[in-house]
Subunit: 195 residues, 2 copies
DNA sequence: TAGCCATCTTAACCAACGTCAATGAAAGCC
DNA sequence: GGCTTTCATTGACGTTGGTTAAGATGGCTA
């Protein structure tokens, strides 16, 4: 029995598709391309050209960054989230690695598909752009939190907003997401239990 | 004598206007709106609707975030940089404060002006969008550095890429940008001198 | 000039994280 | 079953940043 993530999770927004009619949504469904990826598969690696972008329909994707042979987890993406800001196209290169933590069902979009979708649903383009700007600002916010909160506060925040992550990914990767070592997360948890 | 910032500064990109013709650039100049702001003036405050966005032509703007009555500096914007990701419009609210560190000359764009500019220079829209996506990815990168580097490394990086900042803003704000207290920055500098 | 204010530095002490190493627990494999 | 591998925990110890408080410096103003 898994605790669902809070609707106030940092990445949850008003569903951008609400603005579409029933019919438009149905059409969108016929257009979208779904792909399965096995646990451990990479969606992209740092430095590669980004020709597609991905939304998680089912499963969990982790992005991370390498520095001195050490992994630094940037984010976890689960059901309904788009991996990275949805950015792809010529001259765009992946700034990080993205790997499936579980078997995943992904909604994949490339440049051509995007053009087709926007041609069929012109209103969607503006919606997506606004969505992207919102996400960008939320990212700013996240950076702010990252900077001003202690590891303990960040842990509490993650636990409150995305509890299900703790059942889906190993703790040492959560530690890396919080910006601390696994040993420190262990002690932090112990400290919190005692008080 | 001020040391110019490195061309490899985190926010420097290929000039998006290179792709325009001489003529188009000239037209752009006639369209843009410049405003002067005095040192200490705010461009926006957290929570306010963002109806304009700003590019720094001359001067320096600092964005920061409030948390428990304490300021956390998010970034410094100087000549040629756009304050925040260039985002404005209905339903967009400022996630932070933006204040002029010096008397500034700013390039101001609102929704209406943006429409006019894009109507005159249709190619610019795609260029700006691509630029925005690049910036978004660079932001991801920055978050990665923020997470994986020690304060000392971040200090060295800032000193290497944006040395002029150290002559333009007080050190306690740089400390706040690096995510440490002014006293710690003092000690850190002393440590580095001795080694 | 004296006084005030903002900024930077230094010192002492404490708390928290990193490192290294060892131990346990759980899962997967032969 | 026994083995290995992976992951979480614990302890000892060093380093570093936060806190508090005290000066030092320089600029500005009454």
């Amino acid at each position: 029995m898994s605790i669902p993530d809070s609707p106030h999770a940092p990445r949850s927004l008003t569903d951008p598709l609400q603005a579409l009619t029933e019919q438009e949504r149905a059409e969108l469904l016929t257009l979208q391309r779904l792909e399965r990826r096995a646990k451990g598969e990479y969606l992209f690696r740092a430095g590669q050209p980004l020709e597609r972008y991905y939304a998680v329909v089912e499963g969990c994707v982790r992005t991370y960054h390498l520095h001195d042979d050490e992994e630094f987890t940037l984010d976890f993406y689960t059901e309904g989230q788009t991996v990275l800001p949805a950015v792809a196209g010529k001259g765009i290169f992946a700034p990080s690695f993205a790997v499936c933590m579980e078997d995943c069902l992904l909604n994949v979009t490339d440049e051509q598909l995007e053009r087709e979708v926007f041609a069929r649903l012109p209103r969607l383009k503006d919606i997506c752009q606004q969505q992207s700007e919102q996400l960008q600002l939320m990212h700013q916010q996240e950076l702010a939190v990252q900077k001003s909160a202690s590891p303990e506060q960040r842990y509490a925040h993650l636990l409150a907003t995305r509890p299900s992550l703790f059942e889906r990914v190993p703790q040492y990767q959560i530690a890396s997401y919080l910006g601390i070592k696994p040993e420190s997360l262990s002690r932090l948890r112990k400290r919190l239990q005692q008080n």
